[in-house]
Symmetry: C2
Subunit: 143 residues, 2 copies
């Protein structure tokens, strides 16, 4: 967390429930969530949330996704320390996607890169646009 | 299209096919695509692409999605004129999402707003962060 991130104020339970009622979760109960660094505009990652994850995120101001592979809540940074503090959450026009403006501590990607979107599709083939800032073994305490 | 957008160079068919082979389309044959204005960093929309749509986008440099509601290719701006020129396409770490850096002509959202993400989830409830720049009737020739 940087010192410059705007303070987040959580809506109360009634307001959260009313807003969540307008969101459109898919047949699996999920909504796509884009995380963007609030001040630089960098798109960090795309992941999924169920209603519980989005409610927890709005309640705590700390981003929680739903892990499709593990089948449960995924509190971003719980293992790695690379948490995302919420600055603002915005539903799109048809309410089936959410943009999270966040303050990312360290790196968003499990490969140790700031952003997950590093495989550029170029005339010569895939080109990596960034290198890891932290070794994955360090990130997950295996170093 | 602005005069300042970097020129896009299309990969040839063989290179496109090799890159598309590494992308992970879901059970419905789709991949999530985020469109971001290349110079301002504004996240404009989230939509879906099948392999054909992503291939056409890379080939032509003009963004083409897959419309889940219509069940076919959706050449962005074909009706409204609000096209997206591709600057760069980037697959994420697990290759199941793509970030499109684009140059958006006019507005991305069918409501006439620049970005689809205008419903902020605030303590008082949903708050619209932007107003339409163009009336939807004008956008779709019904004005």
């Amino acid at each position: 967390m940087t010192d410059t991130a705007p303070a987040y104020t959580a809506p109360d339970a009634t307001t959260r429930a009313a807003m969540l009622d307008t969101a459109r979760f898919d047949a699996a109960g999920l909504i796509a969530a884009i995380a963007q660094q609030h001040d630089t505009g960098e798109v960090l990652m795309l992941a999924w949330m169920n209603r519980e994850a989005l409610d927890e995120t709005l309640r705590t101001g700390r981003v929680c996704y739903y892990s499709r592979s593990r089948g449960g809540l995924w509190r971003k940074g719980e293992t790695s320390g690379q948490v995302q503090r919420l600055v603002d959450a915005r539903l799109d026009c048809d309410r089936d996607a959410v943009l999270l403006l966040v303050d990312q501590t360290g790196v968003a990607c499990h490969t140790g890169r700031r952003s997950c979107f590093f495989n550029a599709m170029r005339p010569t083939g895939l080109v990596e646009t960034s290198a890891p800032l932290i070794a994955a073994d360090t990130l997950y305490g295996r170093g």
